[in-house]
Symmetry: C2
Subunit: 143 residues, 2 copies
DNA sequence: AGTATATACTTGTATTATACAAGTGAAGGT
DNA sequence: ACCTTCACTTGTATAATACAAGTATATACT
């Protein structure tokens, strides 16, 4: 029945969020916090992004992104250039040190996941990755 | 290759935690916060649990659980009885109102998930639920 | 039995990541 | 030219966690 699969997903999601928050916030994997990591990842992938465009994409409050961007800039991991066509906005870009620290963190995090899933079948890992992507997409589309 | 599935899971997990935090913390589904919900769930399922046993089970700090338990007790959702065999400890149990509010919240949350996944194949939902459970188990076992 | 150590819990304080509200200055429509 | 909307910043609040210190009970050792 649909009933039981929904119930299982709902409960496991509640458990998962707690574990992930605990793992990524209080017992860090690398030097970047969760928000900084995702932000760098996105800025690397999106050449001409702004505070607003990031907030829209991730459904975060613009003030939240503003602070995260300020923090990354202060650490020298991104640069901001005044937007030519709009004096209110900035164009964000990752810097050389930013790209390096992102890569280091990415590797540390991936190593963590690799350890966690070392006994899984590769087919399970693939299926899990795809389902997670699909779930994330559904979350973003819904709101 | 293992490489790409690990990378996909790692990235999607980072995205997921943000979305789940946002959904369950700032735009609530029901009257119980995330911690209270999981706690009630656990207390219902585990007859004779204590602050310590819960902290161990979830790998949380005992002070965190202590506050969450105090909050639930204050709202009348659980009761605590002095442990017969250990004067330092209490036995926790869910109350009638606690069971009710848990059920309401559970239904609201499940309805949210149902909406989110309404276009999925039932087989996908089942697979996802099972993989999530397996992942959560792996997280708990690792630490 | 008495004392020292370990344990269960509480309380104080800090941190992280978020939201909402208010403020500033630039853009754009009429 | 003025009013409104928009991009961004800053102030403040909140939730959920951790760590550290304190209290009272339990256990172990001599």
């Amino acid at each position: 029945m649909e009933q039981s699969s929904i119930a299982a997903i709902e409960l496991e999601m509640a458990l998962l969020v707690r574990q992930l928050v605990s793992m990524t916030t209080y017992k860090k994997n690398g030097s970047l916090d969760r928000a900084a990591y995702l932000l760098l990842h996105h800025i690397l992938a999106s050449p001409a992004c702004s505070v607003k465009s990031i907030a829209d994409e991730f459904h975060l409050d613009i003030s939240t992104v503003s602070r995260q961007v300020a923090s990354l800039e202060q650490r020298g991991y991104i640069s901001r250039m005044p937007d030519q066509s709009d004096g209110r906005s900035y164009t964000l870009a990752i810097t050389e040190p930013g790209a390096e620290v992102l890569k280091e963190n990415q590797e540390a995090r991936q190593e963590g996941v690799r350890q966690l899933l070392k006994d899984w079948e590769e087919a399970e890992r693939q299926a899990f990755g795809e389902l997670l992507r699909k779930f994330n997409t559904a979350c973003l589309e819904q709101s």
